[in-house]
Amino acid sequence: MSKIKVVHYLNQFFAQIGGEEMADMEPELREGLIGPGIALQQALGADYEIVATVICGDNYFGSNLEEAQSRILELIKPYSPQLFVAGPAFNAGRYGVACGTIATAVEKEFGIPALTGMYVENPGVEMFKKDLYIIETANSAAGMRKAMPKIATLAKKLINGNEIDLPAEDGYHERGIRVNYFHDKRGSTRAVDMLLQKVKGEEYQTEYPMPFFDRVPPATPIIDMSKAKVAIVSSGGIVPLGNPDRIESSSATKFGKYDVTGMDRMSKDDFISIHGGYDTAYILEDPNLAIPLDVLREMEKEGQIGELANYFYSTTGTGTSVGNAEVFGTEIGKQLLADGVTAVILTST
């Protein structure tokens, strides 16, 4: 029996090529296995063979999503893989998004099982858990030893067409796929049990968790816009040329505050978008599409708004974790309040 052919995906760091300074590295393919591939090969056993490893820098992947995907698919095609494993990415946000993106693309393109592993807070989990089996891992590479056997076990089940067990048993992040089963008790009996637990204040477990929306109550309306001080906050990744704060093109960990004093409009000579994952061609040509300075300046002149703050806040939306976004929002809000801003226009892409 010939061995099951496996292709493994790693970023520049795990492929032991370099750290952040190599994050722009373009996709490359190496025959055989590298670094974490050793543990994967061991866990998969003798019936499997890692025939190739694809490596790509996290920044390159994030900034060139489409191109990175198609190039990687081209690279691995000649190897006709039967199984694809990406990462695991642990808590690395950009790496997680890359693993999720490429595994999803491989599964779709080649129709083979593709899986990865991530820490629960990795934004890639939320983005890809519906599309992929993502093994739950520790938050750092120290968890590699434990993660790889789980990935291998689930991969084998997928290859052999075995039934997949519950998330807790097979160690993957719940995908939100509703699967039928027969309970020991009928539904009405379970309802009575659950109700008594709830009435007594005991712990109970709903059988269908409602979708969770972190709703923010809207602020009270502004009565008189002609007295409002307005500021612009954007997740469109607009930054001054050169990206002085080194804001990431995806999975941002920071935001920037940029001055527009004396400007009537956003000039493409001063500002660019570093946002990954969407076509920035139009915004690069006219940054006012993301930061509508031109229109707001006119409204300021005409007295329709009281005053426009002489700066805007900016970060990247794609792949940015809800946790980070909350931190950004809270901090930006504090600064805006301190500056007497009464209205904010949020722009995205």
């Binding site: 998330p167 995908r175 699967v179 309970h183 009405s188």
Partner: protein, 428 residues
């Protein structure tokens, strides 16, 4: 109000010269049944077939399922306001032929109703694969108007169930269960230390083929009201709803409401079952506002500390379910909801069409969108002509060999949202 329910166990059904129960076998007189059905001149044809557990039989298209029962003592008669005069029921003694049913079958409209398989892999999804069924195949007069045909079919089933139920009147039941709910203040005092629990029963009430009747009143016309739980056991509530086979609450399921049964099972042990609030699922949003307000008001007034709310149907009823949940919760009453799920074929979408934050305790009766394969059966009662137009069916569902590929939705009461079945869905 106190009802003794005598359960006469039925383990087989056969045709016979006389409709009677002998040694747990139900014998039915075919000619008498046909005669009874054809008393209604809106129906020009009727046939009776039998379907037993394990047989290679498929029944389609199924409209309603009814358990034969008979009133032995106590006021009133079965199915008040429908086939009998309106009189309070729920007291005295009633006998039920447990393990037997009457199934009405026949084309109402093109996409109606669903399937029952008596054996094979799909049988486990349907409670009526385990019962001994007297199947009534009816045929309407030419050009009979749809509403009239629906009514005639509904009444035929009820009449035949009542007729067969008579056979149990003088039989000594295998088991007698006593259910009692006292007037509110007495009931509260009976078990002062146990949590007072109520049941909010949402009745399907959207329009043609989406109606339920309470003492003959169309549930659309109801304002929420109180019902002693035993009233339902004498047929106070009758189903007229044929659509959405999987979550259809048949008349059988009203007679045998599992929530009422399970609340009684714990009554006096770890809860005090106070009674039932009936409400509806109207299409008018103003009706929803009114009904949910009144449901919450009644639950508060009766001093419920916890309620179970069940729904019938998908979409429009989800909004009623959530409004009831929210408003009852806001009265400080703990709420558990029972529902089935429609998360799409891949199981990844939202299961319900509406949601509120208060819906934090929900029991799932399964995912109705799952695709099931039904192998061919040796015998079909009714017709498979409408399989592809039934809910859950689609073009290409019916294969030339008589096998069927369709969503679980097509099976009668397979994901019924009152918790009658053990089927559930969970997250993978």
């Amino acid at each position: 109000m106190k009802l003794e329910l005598g359960k006469i166990l039925i383990q087989d059904v056969q045709f016979g010269a006389k409709t009677e129960v002998v040694d747990r076998t139900l014998f039915v007189n075919k000619e008498e049944i046909i005669e009874l059905v054809l008393e209604d001149d809106r129906l020009i044809g009727a046939d009776v077939e039998l379907a037993r557990p394990g047989e290679s039989v498929r029944i389609a298209p199924v409209k309603d399922v009814i358990e034969p029962r008979v009133k032995v003592t106590g006021g009133g008669v079965l199915f008040p306001g429908m086939i009998n005069k309106v009189e309070q029921v729920g007291s005295g003694r009633t006998h039920a032929l447990v393990g037997a049913t009457v199934i009405t079958c026949g084309r109402i409209v093109g996409f109606q109703e669903g399937l029952i398989d008596m054996s094979g892999p799909a049988a486990k999804y349907c409670p009526f694969s385990e019962t001994n069924n007297v199947v009534l195949v009816i045929e309407p007069a030419d050009n009979l108007e749809t509403h009239d045909y629906e009514t005639a079919g509904r009444l035929a089933g009820l009449k035949v169930a009542a007729y067969i139920g008579e056979a149990g009147k003088n039989i000594e039941p295998d088991e007698v269960v006593v259910y009692e709910t006292k007037p509110l203040l007495e009931q509260a005092l009976q078990y002062p230390d146990l949590p007072k629990i109520g049941y909010v029963h949402m009745l399907q009430s959207q329009g043609l083929l989406h109606d339920t009747y309470y003492y003959g009143v169309d549930a659309k016309q109801l304002v929420p009201t109180f019902m002693y739980p035993t009233e339902i056991m004498d047929g106070a509530i009758v189903s007229g709803n044929c659509v959405a086979p999987c979550d259809k609450v048949t008349t059988f399921h009203h007679l045998n409401n599992p929530i009422i049964e399970d609340l009684f099972a714990r009554h006096g042990k770890d809860l005090n079952f106070m009674g039932v609030v009936l409400t509806n699922e109207n299409v008018f949003l103003a009706d929803k506002d009114r009904s949910s307000d009144m449901t919450a008001k009644l639950c508060e007034f009766f001093g419920f500390e916890g309620v179970i709310i069940s729904e019938e149907g998908y979409g429009n009823p989800d909004t009623d379910l959530m409004m009831n949940c929210q408003k009852v919760s806001q009265k400080g009453i703990k709420v558990v909801l029972i529902t089935d799920e429609f998360p799409g074929r891949d199981g990844k979408s939202q299961s319900l069409a509406d949601t509120v934050d208060e819906a934090d305790a929900l029991v799932s009766c399964g995912n109705g969108n799952v695709i099931i394969n039904f192998p061919p059966m040796e015998k079909v009662i009714g017709t498979l002509d409408f399989v592809e137009t039934m809910i859950g069916g689609y073009e290409g569902s019916l294969k030339p060999d008589g096998s069927i590929e369709a969503e679980l939705q097509i099976v009668i009461a397979s994901t019924i949202a009152n918790g009658y079945n053990k089927l559930a869905a969970r997250g993978h």
